[in-house]
């Protein structure tokens, strides 16, 4: 008998997945060569599942800023900002984020997960109502639990369902907090934000948008879905991350709320965590400036996303409703998903195996994310592998594409 015995239900499925080949939840890279290439077991693979949307992890300016900061400020802050103080970089990054979003205030967290955990649990508490899209990220669900608020889910991307559930709350709908994501991390689909914002306004609720996967990806200036949908004025809070388009780690919350500073003393995931090391802050700040100044990255990302999504769709794979930097291929069952994932890896393509309950509608997925740093040739290679394997395993009826 051990404390972990309660989790033994996962043992057989996990062993089954491991027995099929590599362990999809514990992939070990021997080296990372670039934003799009890594070494696995002595073989070079194309990285197609790393959320490195703008490909900035090896940007020379970001690396230089990071190296300078580590020399000048040391390797870590060794504590929270509450106890150990704020370094110049933390404050500069918060100022830069607030200005990027055109908001009064910004607050930096140590991870994107903690930005949701600390932001949401600081905004709502016992007696408040928190209204979540059913397909929300785990960090939003965990924030909901930490907040002790009354949590109501609405059907994914369904503004009418949101409206119905808010109406059911009667007087309590006013002042509730609605949380949605810009781009959903599994299928890559986008929230109908304009309609959601209209419901929010009618019901007198607040709206928080998690732009983790849409920052640097959507909008003329790369501010995300709120910008792209033209509803920034109706969005009260924006959460985001540094671990995707900005190529590092960390998260943030921005808002115009005049009492924003109080969050710094009530948000436990902010107060009781060591703050980000100066090197991370420095590369993030540099990446943010690049994101603001260079829209060509976003255009390349868009073209790459379209190439992959169209290619897979035209072959006959079941993909999401529209092109997106996240393209998920729906697999008929888990056994096939695991087989395909291993075969893709053996053929030099690394992406994410996603299985229920982490996926919507209980469907196993092969989840890919493209980068601005991918070359059209790399994506063509990926498509060829998908086509060859799809035919080998009977997922595709016949060759539909002329081979390149």
């Amino acid at each position: 008998m051990g404390l972990l015995d309660k989790h033994l239900g996962y043992r057989a499925p996990l062993d089954g997945i491991r027995a099929a080949g590599a362990d999809p939840f514990n992939v070990r890279f021997d080296a990372v060569l670039s934003p799009t290439e890594g070494m696995l077991d002595g073989r070079q693979v194309i990285l197609l599942g790393t959320n490195n949307y703008l490909g900035l992890t090896f940007d020379p300016d970001c690396i230089e800023a990071s190296a300078t900061a580590v020399r000048e400020w040391g390797t870590g802050t060794t504590g929270s900002r509450f106890a150990n103080g704020t370094f110049a970089g933390h404050a500069a990054l918060e100022t830069a984020l607030a200005s990027f979003y055109g908001r009064k205030h910004a607050m930096v967290f140590t991870t994107g997960y903690q930005a949701n955990l600390g932001g949401i649990s600081g905004l709502v508490g016992r007696g408040d109502h928190l209204i979540l899209d059913a397909d929300s990220h785990a960090s939003i669900y965990d924030a909901a639990r930490l907040s002790q608020a009354e949590v109501i889910r609405f059907r994914h991307n369904d503004p009418e369902d949101l409206y119905k559930r808010l109406r059911r709350l009667g007087d309590q709908a006013a002042g509730s907090l609605i949380v949605v994501e810009g781009i959903y991390s599994m299928m890559g689909d986008v929230a109908p934000l304009k309609e959601i914002a209209a419901v929010k306004k009618e019901m007198g609720a607040y709206l928080l948008v998690d732009e983790a996967h849409s920052m640097g990806v959507l909008g003329e200036k790369g501010r995300g879905l709120a910008e792209a949908a033209g509803v920034e004025a109706d969005v009260d809070f924006i959460v985001g991350t540094f671990s995707k388009s900005l190529g590092a780690v960390g998260g943030f919350l921005v808002s115009d709320d005049d009492n924003f500073d109080l969050l710094r003393i009530v948000s436990r995931p902010y107060m009781f965590t060591a703050s980000l090391p100066p090197a991370v802050i420095a590369s993030t700040l540099t990446a943010l400036k690049r994101l603001e100044a260079d829209s060509s990255l976003r255009l390349r990302l868009e073209a790459n996303a379209m190439q992959l999504w169209e290619g897979l769709r035209d072959m006959g794979y079941a993909v999401g409703p529209h092109a997106s930097p996240i393209t998920a291929v729906v697999m008929p069952d888990q056994a096939m998903a695991v087989t395909m994932w291993n075969a893709l890896l053996a053929n030099g393509v690394y992406l994410n195996l996603a299985i229920p309950p982490a996926t919507p509608d209980n469907r196993p997925l092969l989840r890919s994310s493209v980068s601005a740093a991918h070359t059209p040739q790399q994506i063509e290679t990926v498509l060829s592998v998908f086509e060859q394997l799809g035919q080998e395993f009977g997922l595709l009826k016949r060759a539909r594409r002329a081979s390149a």
Binding site: A144, R153, R168
Partner: protein, 84 residues
Amino acid sequence: MVELATDLTVREVARAAETVLGRTVQVTHATDIARDLAVDSLALMNIVMELEDRFDLSIPLDRLATVQTVGDLSELINKLRVKA
């Protein structure tokens, strides 16, 4: 009468579970939702969403902390219906 209302609610829980799970289920008050119905946390939340619509009721997720059996869930729904 209370017993009758609970039985009706149990039946609605079974129907909601069948809608979400896509298979028939046999339930009594004592049915353990996770163990006997093999329902994971996500499926349970989806069943609750279905029940909210069937009863035109809000069932906040934090109330599920004490729900283990179908009987627990039925009682919770009946309690919320009285309040509504």
